[in-house]
Symmetry: D2
Subunit: 213 residues, 4 copies
């Protein structure tokens, strides 16, 4: 296949892009001046070179400083930020969720990115999410007091939360918590900003009422 078709094919695999828009992208690029192409390519190389998966929270992070690789591998700016509360671990599906939380400025603990959600009826959750790594992270962290399951309020999100909750429950009572109880919490339901009461479902209303202030 010629390069143009192949390039279109690659763009067609970008998230949310169909063949027609992929073709637009290809034409958009070749219509750009050489200098633009050069910068674009250099950026991709730079970003790729400076992208690392944090060995602790498993998010992708970008750092242009040279990392001294520890045995445990690179760690991101959040995981190495000693000002954050290491007694709370928030579990999210994806990097983009983590970023929404960070943008809110409402959370100062640490994170763990499980890397996806488990569809209902899926037989092999451990192929969908980093369950084993999560359990290790939890069992090796005696300082942990709370695990917050921050998953979407969707069917898959709730299913994933249930699976993680059960798995953590199993290892609870072990020496990890040496006596202390490990709290596993989930985000509160309520009216999302912009939500209209008329269209709110029963569970949302129940929680919104319960959490009135």
């Amino acid at each position: 296949m010629d390069s143009m078709r192949r390039l279109e094919e690659i763009f067609a695999h970008f998230p949310g892009i169909g063949p027609r828009q992929a073709r637009r992208f290809a034409y958009y690029l070749i219509g750009k001046p050489q200098a633009f192409i050069k910068e674009f390519i250099q950026l991709i190389e730079t970003v790729k070179k400076s992208a690392h998966e944090c060995s602790s929270c498993h998010r992708l992070f970008i750092t242009e400083v040279r990392l001294q690789h520890t045995d445990s591998g690179p760690r991101c700016n959040i995981c190495t930020d000693t000002s954050r509360d290491c007694s709370v671990l928030m579990i999210v599906s994806r990097d983009s969720d983590l970023e929404s939380i960070e943008k809110s400025g409402a959370y100062r603990g640490l994170y763990f990115v499980v890397g996806g959600t488990v569809p209902i009826l899926d037989k092999e959750p451990e192929k969908r999410i980093r369950l084993k790594a999560l359990l290790e992270r939890v069992s090796q962290s005696p300082e942990l007091k709370e695990v917050i399951l921050s998953l979407s309020a969707t069917a898959d999100g709730e299913h994933t939360a249930a699976i993680i909750k059960e798995a953590i429950g199993k290892i609870a009572g072990d020496n990890l918590t040496n006596g202390k109880r490990l709290n596993v919490t989930v985000l509160g339901r309520g009216l999302s900003t912009g939500a209209e009461l008329e269209y709110a479902d029963g569970e949302t209303i129940k929680s919104a009422l319960k959490h009135r202030e």
Copy 2:
């Protein structure tokens, strides 16, 4: 104007209906057998005859039993239900909101339908919502311990809530509460069922975190 155009015009004023669909409605009706038309008309008459605005919560309610009109006017099945908690008053914009709450089964207190919302910048809130009637209702209810503002989590909803809160605040401290403090609360924010974390705004995340359980 001929009857058909006039009928279309009326349908075009139905909530959410444009001229094209209004015309569809008119054709749909005249295409129906006489017996259907007869039932449709009788239903409208019956329902209209049996519809009353509750003198206490101001919702429209349907009752096919003959009402003995008290001086204060008809009262709906919720307001006359002695098993409900009359120390809590929930303020909603519209009947449809009230019904969502009832469907959730999460609330056992009483209601007050203010009849709308106040758009931001609107100069005359009292023309948009039943503010005067609400304040009377509140000031004449020494049994009241809490007023819950159940308005949509939208800009207008929050603006309306602020106006009501301020107005109630003004009359607080009066003999109404004879000593007791009147709590004015609002529904809690959080992740509405179906909401994806990635798209949640800061305020929603803050509340969802605060109300984790």
Copy 3:
């Protein structure tokens, strides 16, 4: 079931209306003053009383004048308009299509409303459209020179056109056309107003090119 629910149920069968909007409609109506309800009901009765299916083109038409019923039944203002060209018969699916054509002012012939379209794979077209009545209309009209199939440019529309074309073809060559050939035509394809060339399919482009002017 009580009247309110039943009324909602009826509205929920209006074209394009779901249960939630049906409920809105019911509340909208009962919220209206008695005078409005009265007019609404009278309009429905008037319109229903003055609605007739034209015995010739089968469209629904409204007339408030008393019809002297001929043996053949009532005929609409278009079919009785002697200034129209009775040598051309346009076949449309629905009254709404006929009205679009009339609004365009581009056509001065007569119509025949077949009453629907025939889905592909449908085994019994005659249950979907007035095929028999159409063939009668055609075979009893020696003045006919052309039949225009004005069906939507959709799969069902084209399928319906093919069925009608074949059926008319069968009766062609009969005494109906006493020698003269009966033209069966279809609307031309091309760029609909508002269409973007980039998204036009091959057939549309072919016709648009062929019909360039």
Copy 4:
């Protein structure tokens, strides 16, 4: 600004892409293996190197063969295809339009890509489209018998067509057409495939009727 933000910024300028999806793209890329990145970058370089603007029709075309540059610059495979009819010139806005036409297989003449459309009220059309180059192309082509304006059936498309038609009209009668009349045509209107008659506007119906067959 760091490389990641800058890369997101560039993606955010891709056609039809907003900041959120741009960020997704960036994460998608850095999540990919090094080999993928390498191929992606090489493809972009290859395609850019092999992309040329045709000096005759001004489309971008890709050729991996070495071009012997004539004084007049590179010419695309369509413009150099001697089997095509050089007496007809089709004017399109963009490469994507040209490709739709080619895919239809309905056209065997030559093209000229004006490079955009002229918004209504725009004062300087020559800054929006290659008007000067087009007029040169036309006046230097005595073999031309017809110019087909293939612009979208939108307000801007029609405005652009009007401007081009007028400009070509001005140079007509010159020695270019040495006696012969130069036909300027536009694509025919009608029902685009998939269009429903009920929603067709008057102009579309008029043309569809006129072009019935």
